[in-house]
């Protein structure tokens, strides 16, 4: 039984503790994915179809895990993907995650649907930061997001392109997940049995969406589901021209988040992106779509020399990262790999998770006979057939 942070040693442990601490609609919002969650499961199981082949006797006492993406040197070869609504998961929300990211000198991805403002985050941490952009119908809102992220000196802008419409997250339909949380009879019991969450939620500051609230009612006053937000507020006619315009307006490092086809990866390079996140949104959008790791090699072969390719989603272990990096990803990133830890123990939880992944990476690099990330190559991998 896992009851304390001290008992958490891996992804599964953090998940269990998060389940214990969170009201069920909120836990399932993090934990769930689209339709039958087949893509969600594949995102992780894809790593099991390939094996690592170590080299021995190489003298590996000092391991350097650093990598450079978007022109920034990170001490870890992975970073924290942008995720929405973090103050629902722990009352410190983005403050906790940002401080933990700073401590490990890795990049912190901040969602357009963050519950702490870019200004506050930027005053708090000076380490690399990514702002995740949603393309809204309201152009005033778009301009405001861009200007504020620029003024707050964010290093990278990532445009999410896989949420043209909301995914079919059936767990949310059943639990009645809305933000802010709405009390239905069905969810009441769950909230009532997790009193600490409720007390913290109600007493530790008002729940806000600072990047949107001047422009919309949704998600603040009205009870809105995330699916509704995607389907009603985002601009479904978004196309390559819009992405290109945004990229040049931003004028700095720019990534598309959610690219899966080789064709699209090439176009991303053409419009001036400096990176792409190969991702299916953690299986939360199109179920039945390909896993990032399955698709990685093709994309690296096509555009790996032109932009930074990041493998995002399904990562639970240091060895998963080693496999992706060996295939040619510049870095990895993930959401749930730190979200359960956030729910389990706030900043201390995220730090513990990052410490665990870092220790795994160092140990596994040594076992592989590698001392720096650039030592990893496809020679280390064998695909089962």
């Amino acid at each position: 039984m896992i009851l304390r942070l001290k008992d958490c040693h891996n992804f599964a442990d953090f998940r269990k503790l998060a389940k214990l601490k969170l009201p069920s609609p909120i836990f399932h919002y993090i934990d769930g994915a689209a339709d039958d969650e087949i893509t969600y499961a594949r995102n992780t199981s894809a790593f099991d179809d390939v094996d690592l082949v170590p080299n021995v006797l190489r003298g590996v006492e000092d391991v350097d895990l650093s990598t450079t993406i978007f022109g920034k040197k990170l001490d870890l070869p992975f970073y924290l993907s942008p995720t929405a609504l973090q103050r629902l998961f722990h009352y410190d929300g983005e403050r906790a995650v940002g401080k933990a990211a700073k401590k490990f000198n890795t990049m912190f991805g901040v969602s357009a649907l963050a519950t702490v403002s870019v200004e506050e985050i930027s005053s708090m941490i000076d380490t690399p930061k990514m702002f995740q952009f949603y393309f809204h119908k309201d152009r005033g809102l778009n301009d405001s997001c861009l200007e504020r992220a620029k003024a707050a000196k964010f290093d990278v802008m990532a445009l999410t392109v896989d949420t043209i419409t909301g995914g079919n997250r059936e767990r949310d339909l059943r639990t009645g997940f809305t933000s802010p949380p709405k009390l239905t009879l069905a969810s009441l019991f769950s909230f009532a049995t997790k009193p600490m969450w409720g007390i913290n939620y109600l007493t530790k500051g008002k729940f806000e969406l600072p990047h949107l609230q001047d422009f919309v009612k949704e998600g603040t006053d009205v009870n809105s589901s995330i699916g509704n937000y995607f389907s009603t507020m985002l601009d479904q006619s978004m196309n390559w021209k819009d992405a290109e315009n945004l990229c040049s307006k931003w004028g700095g490092h720019f990534a598309l988040k959610g690219v899966m086809s080789v064709e699209d990866a090439k176009r991303a390079a053409d419009i001036g992106c400096t990176g792409i996140m190969v991702s299916n949104h953690g299986g939360r959008q199109l179920d039945g779509s390909r896993a990032p790791f399955d698709q990685l090699a093709e994309i690296v072969d096509a555009v790996g020399d032109k932009l930074d390719v990041i493998c995002e989603g399904g990562i639970h272990r240091g060895t998963h990262m080693l496999k992706a990096l060996s295939l040619g990803a510049k870095a990895c990133s993930g959401g749930r790999l730190y979200l359960y830890a956030l729910a389990a123990g706030g900043q201390a939880g995220v730090e513990r998770a990052l410490e665990k992944y870092k220790a795994e990476l160092v140990r596994d690099m040594k076992l592989m006979g590698c001392t720096k990330i650039s030592d990893l190559s496809r020679n280390n991998l064998r695909f089962r057939t």
Binding site: Q236, D264, G288, R290, Q295
Partner: protein, 383 residues
Amino acid sequence: MSLKNCYNFKDFRNLAKKKLPSPIFHYIDGGSDDEATLRRNTESFNECDLVPNVLANVGKPDLTTTLFGRKIDMPIFLSPAAMQRLYHVDGDKASARAAEKFGTFYSMSSMSNNSIEEIANISGGPKLFQLYVHKDKSITDDLIDRSRRSGFDAMCLTVDTLVAGNREKDHKTGFTTPPKLTLKSLMSFAMRPNWVFNYLTGKKFELSNVKKKTDKGTNIAKSVIEYINEQYDPLMGWKDAEYCAKKWNGPFALKGVMSVEDAKKAVDIGCTAIMISNHGGRQLDGSRSPFDQVKAISDAVGDKLEIILDGGIRRGTHVLKALAAGAKACSFGKMFLFSLAAGGQQGVEHLLKNMHDEIYRNMVLMGCKSLKELNSSKLIYRK
């Protein structure tokens, strides 16, 4: 649990299970032998992945297509299924009305409890008649003539049911039609008084299309297995199929074609379509799944006739994958039968709405504006 909370196949199935006496539920739910083919029909979709294109400016994707010479609003329709009055008092009327409302095909089984004429009267929507070749040729001829007179759009001849499959669940539950009360099934019927009440107070149970020609399936408690083995002609061959196609002289499909060779022969005898199907895993256990076979068949005859994938469909993404692999449309049986049991016409409409929305949403996520854009470049098979 109510219709409102039914989001997917499992939900409809659970609700149907609550509402139906167990022999009837298991008649729908079961497959033959060890049900390996039944499971594979759905699992086969999971061995390949869709690859979306982003920033594609999709707007509102167009889900319409043409099938059997009629324009339909989405690339899915209801497979023919026998004896729908057992699942809900309104039987085929409910399915036919729901399909018409969503602008797609309803199919009538030879073993329907409503007559061809009755359904033609209540629905102007696209209609497919499913034919079995009976030992008594006059029954077959009569069904073809009446379907034409009543304005059915198309006909399919089922070719995978020369003998009945070994449905072990039916042996265990003692499923017969009309349902026979055994001690074992009595409890299950007794616990579902609504079903029993509706069944007994509704129209008399009969196989309406064949009642004048045979008393089988009406007066005596026959198991479906016995009925199939007694009535259907095991000597049926390509000549008989050709005879039916010529006599019908309109859009015509063979239902239950699995080999590339047979698909080519179907072209030769004048079929305009085939339904790749193993009867939902209810006949030959261990046979290949439609999705595993669709690409090979489409490569061979995709330009000569319309290919329908029948069996295993549970999700909008399954339909997308089938179309990307070469199918023109998909059909499903169990899924709509459970929704029929769960809520009659309203249940089937709820299901069709769900499926429509899933296909629509997933087309947007795929970056596809029309069904034509779903081609093999959108699908990658895992090694």
